[in-house]
């Protein structure tokens, strides 16, 4: 393992130190490992807190700022954060209008956010959670821990965040967050594994001619291993999986997301195939993002996330956002 780190044990703290130094718009609580907006909570605005294991940067810390999150809680690499962090974060962003927890559906994240929400409730801070579970590679059944939360997390954070800025109520912000999740689907593919610093070696092994289909964002192998193929074919597998679950039509928001080690050039090649696929189906990507947004350390691969837009969701997507990872609008 060759990484640009000081030590396996200090990766999260060292990265937070760098984030603090790089972004005057953020305030980093190094003791509690929380990334806040430097401006503090805005009275009357619903606070948005998300978090999860580290290693997915820019998610979530890179999405703290106007129009998105109020705070992010990074755990150790691929390990959900702990309730203490979430409680501190929740109290720190509470502006009197309650706090929304945006939780990716993983057993650990769910357990820890639930505990935190309960304890915050005891202390008089109203907390509502939105669970993100967009990954169609996992069947949501009694035989699994349910669908994983992946790329749609960014959509929920952006759109719920935009609504919160308008002064909407906690119930409304949560309802819209859930609506975004329900309208979103994802599928991921790995060309290579990633290496968790503490593990020191790749999470799985693949030959030069194999890929993993239906991966999550924690370096786990996918549902099936397949032969490497042209971008066109790989994208088709991903898009078919999404389309089989929720037929693609109308106006879409589309994310072609890199897993951390994929060159942007290849992501654009994949996006071209996604656009061609959508055309076939009569759907249109009226909004899109191509880049590394929800990553798995140094993994090479990509995921596609689609969200079926409404007029309101489009307006909220377009609304001003000012975070290290996403920035647009005025």
């Amino acid at each position: 393992m060759k990484k640009l780190i000081n030590s396996v044990d200090s990766v999260v703290t060292d990265a937070l130190t760098g984030i603090a130094a790089a972004h005057p718009s953020l305030r980093v609580d190094l003791d509690n490992k929380i990334i806040f907006r430097a401006s503090g909570p805005r009275p009357g605005k619903v606070g948005l807190v998300s978090g999860g294991g580290s290693g997915h940067e820019p998610l979530h810390g890179g999405f703290v700022g106007y129009g998105m999150l109020d705070a992010a809680c990074p755990g150790e690499v691929f390990t959900s954060p702990v309730p203490d962090q979430m409680i501190e974060a929740t109290k720190g962003v509470h502006g009197g209008a309650g706090v929304l927890h945006i939780v990716k559906n993983y057993t650990g994240d769910v357990f820890n956010f639930e505990m935190a929400a309960e304890l915050c409730g005891d202390e008089g801070v109203e907390v509502v959670s939105v669970l993100v579970n967009d990954d169609v590679a996992v069947q949501d059944s009694l035989y699994t821990a349910g669908r994983r939360g992946t790329g749609a997390t960014l959509f929920v954070e952006k759109i719920a965040g935009a609504l919160a800025e308008t002064g909407a109520s906690l119930a409304d912000v949560a309802r819209t967050g859930r609506e975004v999740n329900e309208r979103s689907r994802s599928f991921g593919v790995a060309l290579t594994p990633c290496t968790v610093p503490a593990a020191g070696k790749p999470t799985f092994e693949l030959t030069e001619s194999e890929i993993e289909l239906g991966i999550g964002i924690h370096g786990e192998p996918g549902r099936t291993r397949a032969a490497h193929a042209e971008a066109r074919e790989i994208v088709r597998v991903a898009m078919d999986a999404i389309n089989d679950d929720l037929p693609l039509s109308g106006d879409l928001l589309v994310l072609v997301n890199g897993m951390g080690g994929t060159p942007l050039m290849e992501l654009y090649i994949a996006y071209a195939e996604v656009a061609a696929y959508l055309k076939e189906k009569g759907a249109t990507a009226v909004r899109s993002l191509v880049g590394n947004y929800v990553t798995s350390l140094d993994m090479q691969g990509f995921s596609v996330t689609t969200c079926s837009l409404t007029e309101e969701l489009t307006r909220l997507w377009d609304a001003r956002v000012e975070t290290p990872g996403l920035r647009w609008g005025r």
């Binding site: 294991g53 755990g75 150790e76 690499v77 691929f78 390990t79 959900s80 954060p81 702990v82 309730p83 203490d84 993983y106 057993t107 650990g108 357990f111 820890n112 505990m115 590679a137 996992v138 009694l142 035989y143 699994t144 821990a145 994983r148 968790v196 503490a198 593990a199 070696k201 999470t203 799985f204 999550g216 924690h218 370096g219 786990e220 192998p221 549902r223 099936t224």
Partner: protein, 210 residues
């Protein structure tokens, strides 16, 4: 079994987990996300520190402190699960200064109930429950049969180890490994493996303090 026994238990767990850290992480790499060893090593290291910083007065408070520390420091699925397990044991023991085998059995039962309440896993789902549940049964039986404490704890350790090994062929239905579907079969569940370590440490703690 007095407070020093339970403190010794925590120390033995910390030592065993540290020694098996990479092994546990590699088990997790195969069907999870390669952090179980570092999660528990970090967690039980913190437990050891917490117990040294504020030495507990009863077996129950030892386990409550251990459980809260795990919840506060570990994260992931295993932090809340192990944390809950120890806290439920602690609650079950209450203030008793010296724990009988029957009381330990009831406490382990409470631990299992807590884990199952939180995680909703049943035996066969390929989780830590597959190591914990048979261990709980083994202790209950030992109590009923009135065997010596050493032998009772040996039976607990053996049952947990056997339970962990038996997860190998199973397909996971809870936790991260469930994402793999049938590909999760053929690998030992990391949480079951660590539970076997935790329960084997109970016996080692006995050897050390008795």
């Amino acid at each position: 079994m007095d407070t020093s026994f339970f403190v010794a238990w925590m120390e033995e767990i910390a030592t065993a987990v540290q020694a098996q850290r990479d092994h546990l992480t590699q088990l997790d790499a195969a069907i999870g996300d390669a952090d179980h060893g570092s999660n528990l090593d970090r967690g039980f290291g913190e437990v050891r520190r917490a117990l040294a910083d504020s030495p507990p007065e009863t077996p129950g408070s030892t386990l409550m402190l251990a459980g809260s520390t795990l919840i506060r420091k570990v994260g992931g699925a295993s932090g809340p699960l192990y944390g809950t397990a120890f806290r439920q044991m602690g609650k079950s023991l209450g203030d008793v200064p010296d724990v009988s085998l029957a009381e330990l059995s009831a406490a382990l039962d409470a631990a299992l109930a807590g884990v199952q309440k939180l995680g909703a896993a049943v035996e066969g789902d390929k989780t830590m429950v597959d190591a914990l549940a048979p261990a709980v049964r083994a202790l209950a039986q030992a109590v009923q049969e009135g065997v010596k404490p050493e032998d009772a704890l040996s039976a607990v350790a053996a049952a947990a180890q056997e339970g962990a090994r038996a997860t190998i062929p199973l397909q996971a239905r809870k936790g991260r490994a469930s994402y793999l579907g049938s590909r999760s079969a053929g690998h030992e569940d990391p949480g079951a493996a660590s539970t076997a370590l935790v329960l084997s440490a109970l016996r080692t703690a006995g050897f050390r303090t008795w």
